[in-house]
Every structure is written in C-alpha cells, then in structure tokens.
C-alpha cells in the first residue's frame, strides 16, 4: 500500500475504522490486527469504489464486513469471537480512550451480538436508518425497532456496570 493512499484516503477516516475495530476486539493486539486488515482491504478494493456512495460510507462498509468476518486465533488455539464475553483484564488492555464513560459504553457494546454492534455503531455515528439498512443490507423498516431494543439492552448493561 502506498503511503500516499494511506495518508490521503484512509487516515482522514481512521476515526471511523478505530471506532468500529474497537467494538469488535478485546485486546490491543487484536485491535491492531483488525485495523491493519481493514486498511489492507480498503486499499485492495479501492479500484471497485464507483462513487455511488460517499467514501466514508464505503469505509464503513468495508470496516464492518472485515470485522464481521474476521476470525482471530488466540495463542491456545481457541477461536475467540467478538461476541464472546470480554475476558477479565481485557478492559484494561483496550482502555485507549481518555473518557471512562466511553470505555464503559464500549464494554457494553462488546456484549452485544456482532450484527447489533454494527447497527448501534452506525446509529451512534448518526447514520440515517436508510444508510444503516444499506450498509448492513437489511430492511429499513425494522431498523428503528432494532435500535430501540439495542439501546434498552445497552442501558441495562451500563446500569449494571454502575451499580
């Protein structure tokens, strides 16, 4: 990958990639692997970008597709899926955000299913229901209901964390 491409096409959107990768990883090492994989796939499929959507939307799509399909083998050869419970101590490892509230929110998001994570991340990034439906590839009608349920679940988890 040329550094020009990284600087001009990926780095301005690194925030999106970081936010998504954080939601699908439980450790700094995994996070860096996911981040690199997303960047690699963005670069590889750059030729197919046909400008039918915004570049940022395209970055979202690739980031989510990579995170949804990425499998990481741990040292003991057990495969950890992003939907697995956060291992003890992992929170410390991924605590890269200065704000503790956002860290708590991430911990809660990681307890959702992989698809719910994608939906809520897009919602929090203020994507419209239509954009969320387009990126995920689902019906626009049910997105609102799904988001409502996810938010309820997140609030429950956050309340549990606080108490």
């Amino acid at each position: 990958m040329g550094s020009d491409f990284y600087q001009s096409m990926i780095l301005p959107h690194a925030g999106i990639i970081i936010k998504i990768c954080r939601a699908y990883t439980n450790s700094q090492e995994d996070f860096e692997d996911y981040y690199q994989e997303v960047c690699l796939q963005i670069w590889r499929s750059n030729d197919r970008f046909n400008q039918q959507c915004e570049w940022s939307t395209w970055v979202y799509k690739i980031s989510l597709n990579v995170c949804l399909t990425y499998l990481k083998k741990t040292c003991n050869h057990h495969q950890i899926f992003a939907s697995d419970a956060l291992p003890a101590g992992a929170q410390q490892e991924v605590a890269n955000f200065h704000d503790s509230s956002i860290e708590q929110l991430y911990t809660a998001i990681r307890q959702l299913s992989e698809v719910d994570r994608a939906v809520i991340l897009l919602y929090l990034e203020e994507k419209s229901y239509q954009q969320i439906a387009d990126i995920i590839g689902t019906n626009f009608n049910n997105i609102g209901v799904r988001i409502g349920r996810i938010k309820q679940r997140l609030n429950k988890i956050l309340n549990r964390q606080e108490s």
């Binding site: 690199q36 499929s45 395209w58 597709n65 590839g137 049910n142």
Partner: protein
C-alpha cells in the same frame, strides 16, 4: 445512569482526529486473516497437498510396479486440483464493498456451490479409485494367487471367468456404498476443517435475516 448513550458517544468523540491510529508496518506483507482469505489459503494448501499426494501416489505405484494405475490416479487427482483452482478464482470476484448481508450471502453461496461441486465429483471419484485399485490388485501376482487359491478351496462358490463371484459382487457393493456415503464423508472432512467458520457464517446470516423479519 445520568447520560444517554448518544451523549456519551458524542462527548467521547468530540474530535475524531484525536484518536490514535495504530502504526501500519509492512501492511502489504501482513497475512490476511479474515474468513475469506483464510479459506482461500486453506483451500490453497489442500490443493498443494493434492498435487504432492498425486506425485507420491504416482511414484509409489510406479515403484511397486503399477505405473499405469499411478498415472490414472495422478491425472484424476490433478483434475480435482484444476477444478478447485477454478472455484477459488470465482471467490476472488466477491465484492467486499457490497453491503454486509449481500457480501456474506454471496460468500455463503460460493461455499455451498464449492461443496456441491466436490460432493458430486467425489460420488464418482471414491468408487472409481476403489475399483481401479482393486482391479489392479486382482491382476497382481498376490491378487491372482489369492483368487485362484479361493477358487480352488471353495469350488462351490459360483465363478465368473475363473473368479469367485463374491469378489466382483463385493467390489460393486463397496463401490456403491462409497458413492452413497461420498457426501457424508466429504461433509465430515469439510466440517473438521472449516466447521467453526461455517457455524459463524450461519449465525451471522441468521442474525441479519432476523432484522428483516
């Protein structure tokens, strides 16, 4: 909880540029580890394994005096490699920037097609290999002496061209069984290699379809 999740998010990411991106080191050389690349890689290894297997079988059979059988089996295995290569090439056409559901569905479709193709092939491949090996064995010195010994010891068994009929009947039964169980054998083989990925893929697709209901 005092703040809404929306405000936590907004306040947590006031400035996206403040987020620190990991350093990218030799990205192009990094191994791709996502499910698709991993599968392509595993299939690639399998194909290389088949080529090595074909060579070993050819050399082994030539060494024991059955070069023609070695050539035939080698060609058959090589045909499996060519078909596998073609299938993998199709996989590379998958559109990664498609929406998540379509992407996973098209990958799942490819996988099902791949399995169906090989299941159909193995339905003929397993019995063919078995029949070829048994036939060659029947024409070998040991095979001939076993068959003629049996024909002599059990004259009551009906014979076909001097061969006790239990032999061809047995071969036919085993060949049909192999054809019948080819799909199950292949499924077992695939599940042992890719079972976890298949389960994850199914789970994701079902979850996405649940949103649509």
């Amino acid at each position: 909880m005092s703040k809404s999740i929306e405000s936590i998010w907004k306040e947590g990411f006031v400035d996206d540029n403040a987020l620190i991106a990991p350093r990218i080191n030799q990205l192009y050389q990094q191994k791709s580890k996502n499910i698709v690349d991993k599968l392509i890689r595993t299939i690639g290894y399998n194909l290389i394994g088949l080529i090595i297997g074909a060579m070993v079988i050819f050399m082994g059979l030539t060494f024991v005096g059955a070069p023609i059988l070695g050539v035939i089996l080698g060609i058959m295995i090589f045909a499996l490699v060519v078909i596998g290569k073609r299938q993998v090439r199709q996989l590379e056409l998958l559109d990664k920037d498609d929406n998540s559901y379509h992407y996973l569905k098209s990958f799942d479709g490819w996988l099902k097609g791949f399995i169906a193709t090989y299941t159909a092939i193995y339905r003929y491949f397993y019995p063919a290999v078995f029949i070829l090996c048994v036939t060659r064995f029947g024409f070998s010195d040991i095979g001939r002496s076993i068959i003629s010994g049996l024909a002599k010891d059990y004259p009551a068994i009906p014979q076909l061209f001097g061969i006790p009929v239990v032999f061809p009947v047995g071969v036919i039964i085993v060949a049909f069984s192999l054809a019948y169980f080819a799909a199950a054998i292949y499924r077992l083989d695939m599940n042992s290699l890719y079972g976890r990925q298949f389960a994850k893929l199914d789970e994701l697709i079902k979850d996405m379809e649940a949103i649509q209901e």
